[in-house]
């Protein structure tokens, strides 16, 4: 399946574009997606934290991703 991922802040700068399309095995977990992205963009692994959001909620590591989900990478937030 193809996953479309929205990128923000330093994650967007590391990848060099605002969205990323990746092909992933069916049932790929949030954690699995992060591992494959860490391998492709080692700078992502150096961040204080990196979360996956699915449909505007933080996803647990074992959350299975689906093609129709709105997926985003969330580097450490710093609002306020």
């Amino acid at each position: 399946m193809n996953l479309k991922i929205a990128l923000f802040g330093i994650a967007r700068e590391i990848v060099g574009q605002p969205t990323l399309e990746v092909s992933a095995p069916e049932g790929q977990s949030a954690q699995g997606l992060l591992q494959s992205l860490h391998a492709r963009y080692p700078e992502l692994a150096r961040l204080s934290s990196l979360a996956v959001a699915v449909n505007n909620e933080y996803a647990a590591e074992d959350t299975p991703l689906q093609e129709r989900d709105e997926i985003a990478l969330i580097p450490p937030v710093s609002g306020g």
């Binding site: 929205a6 923000f8 802040g9 330093i10 700068e13 150096r46 961040l47 204080s48 959001a53 505007n56 909620e57 933080y58 709105e70 985003a72 969330i74 580097p75 450490p76 937030v77 710093s78 609002g79 306020g80």
Partner: protein, 139 residues
Amino acid sequence: MIHIDLTDQPIDVLAALRSVEADGAGAINTFIGTVRNKSTGRPVVRLEYEAYDSMALHQLRKVAEQAAEQWPMVEKITVIHRKGTLHIGDVAVVVAVSTPHRAESFAACQYIIDTLKQVVTIWKKEFYEDGDVWVAAHP
């Protein structure tokens, strides 16, 4: 009862305060976050806030709802956060809470700003004379 906004326009602080006025409220507690001129000892020239809008609004509402659940006497809550380019002294965020008595409005207001900083999808980039950095990105 809960009003949330994310804006690229200057925040009208007085309007935010008025928005939580309520006949049952004997207390209005407000937190105003402003842009200061230095960060970890380095002079800051300006900063930029970037937001994942849909998730930031959703999470802001969730944080305000959690506060209203935890302090059920809350009358009204307003949270407004800036995005875009801000300069020294600009208002970055306003949290306003009204309650019958003061203790709850202090507590709910602090809960909201502290939790906002942990979960809401807004990122701050600080610009110095000689470079820039995404705040909190690295250990």
